[in-house]
Amino acid sequence: MPDEQKPEGSEGPPPAQGEAPKPQAKPAAPAAKPAPPKPAAPAPKPPAVMMAMPWDSDLARDLKERFPGRVLATSTYLGQNFIVATPEGAIPVLEFLKLEADFDYLVDITAVDWPKRAERFDLVYVVYSFPRNERVRIKTAIADGFHPQTAVDVHLTANWLEREVFDMFGIEFAGHPDMRRILMPEEWEGYPLRKDYSIIQQDQRWVRENLGIESGQ
């Protein structure tokens, strides 16, 4: 698939997404990118950003027209399209896709933690359209402590999916009807899927009080 073309948009995971206004000439300066320092290796190193290409279609153009300033980029990688939106723009875009573009099935909501970035989390919505047989992702970068708007008013599925994101990452959704943990015990301290939560970490107090043992390891 689109694989060895030249990079153009550079909304890769590491740099703050959609900061740079989209398809400039070249990935000018994602300057302060703390690229994983892999010294040596004289071989041509693969670039440390996702080689996403701009995605151009009726839908993509329509989105940019409708949401100027809120849709930052429309890109495609490995034949999969995604929209980069501002945190405030994600839900309106989701609603627009559902009501006017037939994306009537919210497949998934999840997050990715990039602790070194200013906007720490990527919030990812996957939507699918039955009539168009097409799948699109909406990505938005949010800071730690930011309360994104809930998607429950648009898709009922979002209820549990957002609860899981809250449970695992500590992202609280504003306006969610039932913002409780879902997989972890309710009194558990800490958010396991954050990158600074070690794999052997646990809530010692909870383990002691509820399991009556010193450590679950």
Partner: protein
Amino acid sequence: MPDATFLDSTELVLNMGPQHPSTHGVLRVILKLDGEKVLGTDCVIGYLHRGVEKIAENRTYTQFNPYVDRMDYVAAISNGLGYCLAVEKLLNVEAPPRAQAVRVILTELNRIASHLIWLGTHALDIGAVTPLFYCFREREEALKIFENYCGARLTTHAFRIGGLQYETYEGFEREVKAFCKMFGPKVDEYEELLTNNRIWMGRLKGVGVLSADECKEYGVTGPMLRAAGVKWDLRKAQPYSGYEKYDFEIPTRENGDTYDRYVVRMQEMRQAARIVEQAVENIPEGPILGKVGKVIKPPVGEAYVSIEAPKGELGYYVVSDGSTQPYRVRVRPPSFVNLQALDRMVRGGLIADVVAVIGTLDIVLGEVDR
């Protein structure tokens, strides 16, 4: 009539599970009841949470492969297929034709095994004991093929990123063909016991109805969506692993009740056997592993790949930072999403139907909790 002749009815909260035989694992449902009528439910899940997604970030791509089997452990091969396809997408490679054909055979046999577990336990919940033994009898035959192929019956780890873990064994094709030949009449046998059984119909018809719109609203996929009349199957909509080469139907029904879901799953087993029959007829010769290095190291990027698992859409969202370990693996579990619709399906119904509805959801708690 004076009100005083009636007793006051107050809301009764009843705890069902986590240790309850018909919750199919450790699911706890808090039921709010008015007499026998269900006013509302609250699911408490997470008892089987093992942090699979966290584990993924601390293993290499190859090391994580066996872990996915432990999610939906009655359809481990499907889980493995989804994960391998997702990583292959990131690597931009495809499994060779021979591997694809064998993958289809094993995955469809696994679909049959998974549906047989569903049928046996669902019927047992309703009160029909016999089908359980019939189902396990045939499932055993499928598991024997898995065991001969890879040494494991349940958590198979059958596939490898880029192709297959093992070459097929001597007599594989013969055994698979024999299974297909044997299996059709067995489905007739189950249907004879259940399909026109008056008790079966009485307990299932009109119970736990979920319309097509509600299914989409709740993200419910798989046989549940098809029973509501939506002809949608990822194997047809977005074919993977060579499914476009096989001739099969997508069974659908109209009412979206528990009985229709039963009919759809029964048809699906027949269709799965049909796919296996075609695939085993001509397995292409050639390598079983594509061009992947010993060290799996996808370029920086991300991909969402999903397959039609026996329970619905099973998706993997994999993010790579260019290292040998995935930066993030998100599993989109069909059971978890489908379970959310439980409240809508049982609200206003009778408490006895809760058991039927949990059965028809076909959830595996290992996948719900991951």
